[in-house]
């Protein structure tokens, strides 16, 4: 079975390079560490919050604050998994072994996605429980309405960020170019667009802005976002699908 062979091969590829371990490890550590720090700070600041802010205080979302940095490591993971093939010249060897380009690309993405999801799941649960432990009396319980959805959503968010990056890297091929676009975009540009009044209405349809809605349990007071948590995730899925299809179409027609 050709697809099973490709999955096995891609698993060997991904486990045999050190970048996998350090990008995914960094995603986990950074997310948890920053989440822990911000949870402690939020607990100490709670008393100085306004009445409105106290009502919409979202301990779950606060414990996920580390995602803003941790997602960058996920982006690096996604980019490297794909663009390593190009930057090393391995792509020619790989495509000579697996000339069915759809099988090759989606086999690779499937393996990396499963791995990213497992690491995302571990990160999400750990950061939630550690964050809640720091929040003390203000903490949320995993059984509270919407909390489990938000925690699993955190794992999905990380997975989709990695997948989106794989699609972009498949289109751009160069790791430097891909990272040079994705990193500042997700770290700066997207949050600027999403917070400036003039661009807010467009900004919230960007993949990370829309996708992170799934990690919120309580919405801010003046929230007029036209989609819910799953709607936001669907928007992110659409972006990811577009990036992957774009990557596939280019791989299909381009010379290796």
């Amino acid at each position: 079975m050709a697809a099973a062979q490709v999955l096995k091969s891609e698993w060997t590829k991904i486990r045999s390079v050190s970048s996998t371990v350090w990008t995914l490890g960094l995603a986990l550590v950074v997310t948890i560490a920053l989440g822990l720090l911000i949870s402690i700070l939020s607990k100490n600041d709670y008393d100085s919050l306004s009445r409105e802010d106290k009502i919409t205080f979202d301990p779950t979302y606060i414990s996920f604050a580390g995602m803003s940095l941790g997602q960058l490591a996920m982006i690096v993971f996604g980019v490297l998994v794909v663009s390593n093939e190009y930057s090393t010249g391995m792509i020619r060897t790989s495509l000579a072994a697996v000339p069915q380009r759809a099988t090759f690309l989606f086999g690779k993405i499937a393996v990396a996605t499963v791995l990213a999801f497992l690491v995302g799941l571990a990160t999400s649960f750990l950061t939630f429980f550690i964050g809640q432990a720091m929040l003390g009396e203000y903490k949320a319980q995993i059984g509270d309405p919407g909390v489990l959805r938000a925690v699993i959503g955190g794992a999905l968010y990380m997975t989709l960020i990695a997948m989106f990056s794989m699609g972009v890297a498949a289109m751009l091929r160069s790791p430097m170019l891909s990272l040079g676009i994705l990193m500042p975009f997700f770290f700066l540009i997207s949050s600027i667009l999403g917070n400036v009044e003039a661009t807010k209405k467009i900004g919230r349809f960007l993949p990370d802005q829309a996708g992170s809605k799934i990690m919120q349990v309580k919405s801010p007071f003046d929230d007029d976002t036209p989609y819910g948590p799953w709607g936001g995730l669907a928007i992110m899925v659409a972006w990811t699908a577009a990036a992957l299809i774009g990557g596939y179409v280019l791989l299909k027609k381009r010379d290796a």
Binding site: A2, Q5, V6, K8, S9, E10, T12, K13, S16, V17, S18, S19, N84, E85, T88, G89, M90, I91, R92, T93, S94, L95, A96, A97, V98, P99, Q100, K253, D255, A256
Partner: protein
């Protein structure tokens, strides 16, 4: 068996590969010869389905590359010794290739042993020398025990021991009845390994013939004569019906007579000879002559003159134009020929 039919690759205005039609047959080493930039690597990439042809196609045992199930079991290729992830160990590099084609893990150990890399199998490929990288690439080509093997410039950058090893490997693979297709820009290298030659220049087919035919057609032998009685010698040769061409330094070059015949002829007419030497144009010179007009990048302008009439016919070695251009291509017969 690899068959190319009208294979063409265009990059914008530039034609890299121009209507190539030839077949690579099993049981021998076929040399794929051409100057740098002739389109050899592009042709090989199209053979492997890596680059899409603008026109024409390539078939491997009658099928397109993408139609092959587990292609490494049909055709193994060494395109570029650096076409691997440097952070991966030699073993894992081969293992991921093997798994993608359903080749058992034991075969990875076998090919590592064949190319002599067992001792460094767990080392990262980026620490490998060029020769070790080349061996790892060859291990990858041998992995599926394929009937067809393709090597792009395999001896580039290798030390003499490595070159010797690769030559013997290619010959033994061909002796086992496999199809071996190897590119080079060095005629001398091909003369030692290939039984059949495909020569291209600027993407066009210049010759497709057996090595003995190539040698017969292209390495004309002649005799070089020098005499203080040059005018008399010319008369004597003319009377004997032998044509002599004047070469530089007062020497004469004679086709169609052996040095024995010429020596005896001179003796009969009591002519003093200062030189009587059989000569052979080297294959390298013959190759340069063949591709002279199609060399893309010249080191400088004052090279041998181009052939008078443009494009040579495809499928046949063009008839060599006799004339001064040949004078430059003559040298002492090589030792051991």
């Amino acid at each position: 068996m690899i068959e190319l039919a009208g294979l063409t690759k265009r990059y914008g205005e530039k034609v890299a590969v121009n209507n190539l039609t030839f077949a690579v047959r099993p049981g021998m080493v076929t040399g794929f010869l051409g100057p740098n930039g002739a389109g050899k690597s592009t042709t090989m990439r199209m053979m492997l389905g890596l680059d899409n042809p603008t026109a024409g196609d390539v078939r491997i045992d009658g099928k397109h590359y993408a139609q092959l199930k587990d292609p490494l079991k049909y055709i193994g290729a060494l395109l570029d010794a650096k076409a691997m992830h440097g952070g991966r160990s030699a073993f894992n590099h081969l293992l991921c290739l093997a798994q993608s084609n359903g080749i058992p893990r034991t075969r990875v150990h076998e090919v590592l042993d064949t190319v002599g890399l067992t001792a460094v199998a767990r080392k990262k490929a980026k620490g490998f020398s060029l020769g070790m990288g080349q061996r790892l690439g060859i291990a990858g080509a041998l992995l599926g025990d394929p009937e067809i093997l393709m090597f792009d410039e395999p001896v580039n950058g290798l030390d003499p021991e490595g070159i010797h090893w690769i030559r013997n490997l290619m010959k033994s693979l061909a002796q086992q009845g496999r199809t071996v297709f190897v590119s080079s820009h060095l005629m001398s290298e091909m003369a030692l390994t290939a039984e059949h030659l495909v020569v291209i220049g600027q993407g066009r087919l210049l010759a497709d013939l057996s090595m003995p035919d190539f040698i017969r057609q292209n390495s004309r032998s002649y005799v070089r004569l020098r005499s203080p009685q040059r005018e008399r010698l010319l008369d004597v040769l003319h009377q004997a019906g032998v044509t002599a061409v004047e070469a530089g330094g007062g020497a004469l070059e004679v086709d169609g007579a052996t040095s024995e015949q010429l020596g005896e002829l001179a003796a009969r007419h009591q002519l003093v000879l200062h030189e009587l030497s059989p000569q052979q144009a080297s294959l390298e010179e013959a190759f340069m002559q063949l591709t002279a007009e199609s060399v893309e990048y010249h080191a400088h302008a004052d090279h041998q003159g181009p052939a008078p009439d443009g494009a040579p016919p495809s499928g046949q070695a063009p008839g060599r134009a006799p004339g001064q251009a040949w004078g430059a291509g003559r040298q002492q017969p090589r030792k051991g020929k």
